[in-house]
C-alpha cells in the first residue's frame, strides 16, 4: 500500500510550511513529521516527502541520509540511544553499552527479536553535566550506572515508564 498523508497531516504540514521561506527549507521538519507518523524514514517515506514538497527525490534522500537522527531502518518500541561522546565515555558509557548488549543480546545498531528495543550509539546529547546519558525515544535518563541501566530495562519491559 502506498504511503500517504491524510487530511489532518496535510493541515499540520501546511502549518509547518507557513513558518519557512520555501519548500526546500521544510525538508527537515517534514522528514521529522513523517518519521513520527510512519516510525522510520524508508525510501517510500522519502518519496512521499519529496512529492509533498515538490522537490527531487535526490534532494530529500541526500538530506535524510546525511542526518543520523532519521532512522532509515525500523526501530523497536524503545530506541535506546547511548551517548558515547567524550564526557559520557569518561564516566563509563562504554560499560553501559556492554551491559545493554549483555541484557538485550544485541549489538549497537540492532533490534531485539521481539521488536522491543533498538540499541544505538550516538554522539553528544548535550547533557554532559549529567553524564552518562541514555535517551530512550524522547526521554533522557541521566547520571546512569550499570545498576540503574538494569532497572531501566526492567521497568521498560514491564511497561512502567512512559517515554
Amino acid at each position: 500500500m502506498a504511503l500517504r498523508f491524510d487530511e489532518s497531516d496535510v493541515k499540520k504540514l501546511e502549518e509547518i510550511r507557513a513558518k519557512y521561506p520555501n519548500n526546500q527549507a521544510c525538508t527537515l521538519p517534514f522528514l521529522h513529521y513523517a518519521q513520527d507518523k510512519f516510525g522510520y524514514v524508508s525510501m517510500d517515506v522519502i518519496k512521499l516527502v519529496a512529492q509533498t514538497l515538490n522537490l527531487p527525490v535526490a534532494h530529500v534522500l541526500s538530506v535524510a541520509t546525511f542526518y543520523t537522527m532519521y532512522n532509515k531502518k525500523p526501530v523497536g518500541k524503545y530506541h535506546l540511544q547511548v551517548c558515547t561522546n567524550i564526557s559520557c565515555s569518561l564516566l563509563g558509557a562504554r560499560k553501559l553499552v556492554d551491559k545493554l548488549e549483555e541484557l538485550l543480546g544485541i549489538k549497537p545498531g540492532e533490534t531485539t527479536e521481539d521488536g522491543m528495543f533498538t540499541l544505538t550509539e550516538v554522539e553528544c546529547l548535550g547533557s554532559c553535566g549529567t553524564a552518562p546519558v541514555i535517551q530512550v525515544n524522547e526521554t533522557y535518563f541521566e547520571n546512569l550506572d550499570e545498576k540503574k541501566v538494569e532497572d531501566l530495562i526492567e521497568s521498560l519491559r514491564k511497561g512502567e515508564l512512559d517515554v
Binding site: P56, V57, A58, H59, L61, T65, F66
Partner: protein
C-alpha cells in the same frame, strides 16, 4: 581591469573573475576537480588551494574572486604541502586500480598524484567499499574511485534539471547513488557525466574495457549530427600506431569544449553516432560504373567525358564540408551547370533540447549563405549530366524524392557518397567519398560559426576528395577553403585564422 600578482609577476585581469579563471587565462594551471566552467562553484575538492598574501589559510582558487593588488602564490611550500595533504585524503579510500580502470591515462587523480603527491599511503585501516554497478544502460558507477567532486550531481541538477544522481550519507561514508536509473536511460545528455568525471568513477558501458586511451589518437573535430556544430574529440585507433592489429576506426566520440561557442557538453546522439562511420560493409570501396568497380583513372576519364555537355546539374549537400561542396560548386560554375541545395533532414527535439538543433546536418548554413536555390525549384529535370554529393545521414524526404527523380532521368548521373544508399543505387556512377574524419573540413553552424574539423584518419577504401575525381587542380583542402572564404564570405580566412574555437561571421 585590475592588477594582481601571481607568483611575483604582475598581471592585468578582469574584475569579478575567480583566481582559478584568471590564472587559467594567463596560462597558469591550478589543479582542480570540482570546478567546471559550465557548472556552479562547489569548492568541495580542495585541490585548488593557493596562498593569498594576508590570508591566514590557503584559499580555494575556484571560489575566491580576484581583487586589486592581490598577491597569489600557486607553487609556494604551503601550497605544495596543502595539495599533498588533499591528495592523501582523497586517496584514503581509493582502490588504486588504475590497471583495470578505463580512465587511466586521462585521469586527473593519476596526473595530480604524480605531479603533486607521489607518496605512499599511510592509511592502515580497511577501505570503505561500495558496489560497482551499471546505473543505466549507458553508464556504470564505481563509487570507490569517486573523489566526490559532485560535478555529475551538479550537471544533472543544473544543466538537464533531472536530478538522477545525488550524494548520500556523510563524512567518510559519503558516496554517489543513482535514484532514477530510468531517468538516466532516457536523458539525452546523460553520457556527459562520464566526460566531466575527473576520475574513473563514471564511465560508459560501451567503452568499458575496450581500449586503453593511450592507444588512441585524439583529434578535434566537428560533430556531424546537427546544425549546432558541437566541438568533439574523435578518438581513433590507428593501425599504424598499434601493435594489436586493430583496424582504423573511430573508438569513441567525446566532448571538446568551445568557450567561444559556449559549448561544454554534447548530446548522446552525437556521442554514439560514431558507429555509423565505422560501418565498413556499406562503405563504397571503389568507384562503381554501371554496377562494376573501376579504378580511379578510369573513373576520372569517364567523368571528364560525360561532363562535357551543355546541360548539367550539381546538387550540393548540407552533410558535406565547405571544401567538398565548394569544389563541386566551382566545377559547376566553370561549365555553367545549374547548382541546387537539398533541404536538411529535420527531427523533433528531445526534452530537454538544450543546444540540439532541429536541422540534422552540419553545414546547412553554408549552402544558405551562398543563396543557392532549393532542389524543389528544379523545373526541367532532364539533364545530360547530374552530380549529387551525399554523406552519412539524411536529407529532407521531399528533397530525397526530387533528387532521385533527377538522378533517374539524367543521361548520366553520378553520386559521391561514402556509404551506398538509394541515391547511389539509382546512379550510373558512384564515387567513394571520404567520411568527415578522413579529411580537413570546415562547417558553418546554425549560429554562423565557421569551424574547422581535423583529419584523423587517412582516406580509406579508395575514397578521395571530389576535386581529384573531377580532375581539378587543388593541392589541399585549405586551398579550397581560402577560395571559398574570399569569394563567398569576402574574408581573408585560413585554417590558422579559424583556430580551435572557430570564426563568427
Amino acid at each position: 581591469m585590475i592588477s594582481i600578482k601571481i607568483n611575483d609577476r604582475e598581471y592585468q585581469v578582469e574584475e569579478g573573475k575567480t583566481i582559478l579563471e584568471a590564472a587559467k587565462e594567463i596560462g597558469i594551471e591550478i589543479p582542480h576537480y570540482c570546478y567546471h566552467p559550465a557548472l556552479s562553484i562547489a569548492g568541495n575538492c580542495r585541490m585548488c588551494l593557493v596562498e593569498v598574501k594576508g590570508m591566514p589559510k590557503p584559499m580555494t582558487a575556484c571560489s575566491t574572486r580576484v581583487s586589486d593588488g592581490m598577491e597569489i602564490y600557486t607553487d609556494s611550500e604551503l601550497v605544495k604541502e596543502a595539495r599533498k595533504g588533499v591528495l592523501e585524503f582523497i586517496l584514503l579510500d581509493h582502490p588504486v586500480d588504475c590497471p583495470i580502470c578505463d580512465k587511466s591515462g586521462e585521469c586527473k587523480l593519476q596526473d595530480y598524484y604524480f605531479e603533486h603527491s607521489a607518496q605512499k599511503s599511510r592509511y592502515e585501516f580497511p577501505k570503505e567499499r561500495h558496489k560497482v554497478e551499471k546505473i543505466s544502460k549507458k553508464i556504470y558507477l564505481n563509487p570507490n574511485r569517486c573523489v566526490l567532486c559532485t560535478r555529475c550531481v551538479r550537471f544533472l541538477r543544473e544543466i538537464t534539471k533531472t536530478n538522477e544522481l545525488t550524494t548520500v550519507e556523510r563524512g567518510s561514508h559519503s558516496h554517489i547513488v543513482c535514484v532514477d536509473p530510468e531517468g538516466l536511460d532516457n536523458n539525452p545528455f546523460a553520457s556527459n557525466i562520464s566526460d566531466i568525471c575527473p576520475v574513473g568513477a563514471l564511465g560508459l558501458n560501451e567503452f568499458r574495457f575496450k581500449k586503453r586511451v593511450w592507444f588512441t589518437k585524439k583529434v578535434k573535430a566537428i560533430c556531424q549530427g546537427c546544425a549546432a556544430g558541437c566541438n568533439i574529440y574523435v578518438d581513433v585507433s590507428n593501425r599504424k600506431q598499434l601493435l594489436d592489429g586493430d583496424d582504423d576506426e573511430i573508438v569513441r566520440i567525446h566532448t571538446a569544449e568551445n568557450g567561444k561557442l559556449g559549448q561544454y557538453f554534447i548530446c548522446d546522439e552525437g556521442r554514439y553516432s560514431y558507429k555509423l562511420y565505422n560501418d565498413k560493409e556499406n562503405r563504397v570501396k571503389a568507384p562503381v560504373l554501371d554496377g562494376e568497380e573501376v579504378d580511379f583513372e578510369k573513373a576520372v576519364e569517364v567523368l571528364k567525358e560525360k561532363a562535357n555537355v551543355r546541360k548539367g546539374v550539381v546538387i550540393l549537400s548540407p552533410l558535406h564540408s565547405i571544401e567538398e561542396n565548394y569544389a563541386a560548386y566551382l566545377f559547376a560554375r566553370e561549365r555553367g551547370f545549374d547548382v541546387f541545395r537539398p533541404s536538411s533532414f529535420r527531427k523533433d527535439l528531445p526534452e530537454p533540447a538544450l543546444f540540439i538543433e532541429e536541422k540534422k546536418s552540419p553545414n546547412d548554413r553554408m549552402l544558405k549563405l551562398m543563396k543557392l536555390p532549393k532542389v524543389s525549384e528544379i523545373e526541367e529535370i532532364d539533364y545530360d549530366f547530374a552530380l549529387f554529393l551525399h554523406n552519412v545521414g539524411k536529407v529532407h524526404s521531399k528533397s530525397e524524392v526530387r533528387i532521385l527523380s533527377v538522378l533517374k532521368r539524367a543521361t548520366f548521373s553520378v553520386v559521391f557518397e561514402p556509404m551506398l544508399t538509394d541515391f547511389g543505387k539509382n546512379a550510373n556512377m558512384v564515387l567513394p567519398a571520404p567520411i568527415f574524419v578522413e579529411e580537413n573540413g570546415c562547417y558553418i553552424n546554425g549560429k554562423n560559426f565557421v569551424q574547422h574539423s581535423n583529419k584523423a584518419l587517412d582516406y580509406m577504401y579508395g575514397a578521395k576528395p571530389i576535386w581529384e575525381f573531377l580532375g581539378m587542380d587543388f593541392k589541399s583542402e585549405e586551398e579550397v577553403f581560402i577560395q571559398f572564404a574570399k569569394e563567398q564570405l569576402d574574408k581573408d580566412l585560413n585554417y590558422q585564422k579559424l583556430g580551435t574555437e572557430g570564426f563568427e561571421l
